[in-house]
Subunit: 247 residues, 2 copies
């Protein structure tokens, strides 16, 4: 009954962790070379076996009406931890609960509130359950990602984008590693812009090559393994990144 996961299961998990809503069974099926029905069966099995426990949208509650996200780090007696964890989950505002194996702060409760008063209400609800709040912090940002080892193993494919900063307005700066076979590799910046390979709104502002940093000019050629810094006034979108990515 305790079947191990095969390649199909792993790829399904990877795909659904990455995007649970907009990935269809046929899409995954093509990647793994089986029929869509098989993907569907496997997904149902993974759900039945309790491996896939749910699909949840991630929400930026700060943008969604100026709400606060707070992390309560709590102490619950080990013998009751599972029970109080379950009761904490249903407190209105609580969106995530982590039970930790050891330590004094063995219960992390993530909660969203309209304001600090609302968070106090949640704190009181936790206390009422016999949970001791050891520390609490506002959460600035949270991101969730797929489990890379379950992803496609096309070689050593490192992530292309190594850094990423949003500036005022829609402008963004991204640092990307140029892959072999990337559309922009081997041609000059001037030509890249002229031929539309590089977006008009994007500007290569630095090139890191062999541990030294070059200042790019029109005649500068981008090479594989260069780490280029790209500024884009309208935001660095997926299409721009593709320019630096191999096929």
């Amino acid at each position: 009954m305790e079947h191990r996961l095969d390649e199909i299961d792993r790829r399904i998990i990877h795909a659904l962790m990455d995007d649970a809503r907009n990935v269809s069974a046929p899409t995954i099926a093509e990647d793994v070379s089986v029929s869509p029905g098989t993907i569907r069966n496997r997904i149902a099995q993974l759900e039945d076996r309790g491996i896939i426990t749910g699909y949840h949208a991630s929400i930026d509650f700060e943008r969604a009406g100026d709400r606060l996200t707070n992390l309560f780090m709590c102490n619950a007696p080990v013998s009751e931890r599972e029970t109080v964890a379950r009761r904490a989950q249903v407190i209105p505002g609580v969106t995530n609960v982590r039970e930790l194996m050891t330590g004094r702060r063995n219960l992390h409760v993530l909660a969203v509130g309209e304001d600090t008063d609302d968070l106090r209400r949640i704190a009181r609800s936790l206390s009422d359950l016999g949970i001791e709040i050891e520390d609490e912090v506002l959460v600035q940002n949270e991101t969730t990602h797929s489990y890379a080892p379950f992803g496609p193993n096309d070689g050593e494919r490192a992530e292309t984008v190594t850094d990423f900063i949003s500036l005022s307005g829609d402008a963004e700066v991204a640092e990307v590693t140029v892959e072999r076979g990337a559309p922009i590799a081997g041609i000059s910046l001037e030509r890249a812009v002229r031929e539309g390979v590089l977006d008009d709104d994007s500007l290569v502002i630095a090139i890191e090559r062999d541990d030294s940093v070059l200042t790019p000019h029109g005649s500068t050629e981008i090479q594989p393994d260069d780490i280029v810094t790209v500024f884009s006034r309208g935001g660095v979108d997926e299409e721009t990144i593709e320019t630096f990515r191999g096929e």
Copy 2:
């Protein structure tokens, strides 16, 4: 541009946080009494506005091949926190990163590893980024939930199930609050079983009423607001819970 969310947006967010994959636009549309197309447009807007940031499957990695989930609580200089957070995200195995506003442990990194060696590799990767690991703990369990205040406001509808414990095998024990209008309310246990209202595999083992605990017999009648403890050898499924829930 900074429009506040209306009831439609809130209900969409609630629905997608609860189940991002198996909820269709028409389903939500019916709940809110608008056309499916509108729901679709709103979802696209919420994504564009950066309020919905993604849809992720939740995976129980312990069941998925005996992997370990570990939480690294780290310290990153505030000035570099955003940058290192972004770099930490792409370390293979890292599935979640929380940036916290204040405190010494202002970066929580959740990572999955095949074994402790694998986790050490991830820890080393974090250190290489200049992140100081202050503490680390194995995660036993994690659950994610919808944001209740965005849910349907049909009265004060408290959660029916207040506690839930899995026993050996498939057996489970659940503690549920009986709602007004529930199928089982007002009839004796014996009759409930006879008429199929209560599952054959389910057994009411305790009734908490007015702060005292009753021992149930065949002639005992379940009343609204009773907190009943149900044991089921095959697992307490949604159908069983419905027995205690109002229409």
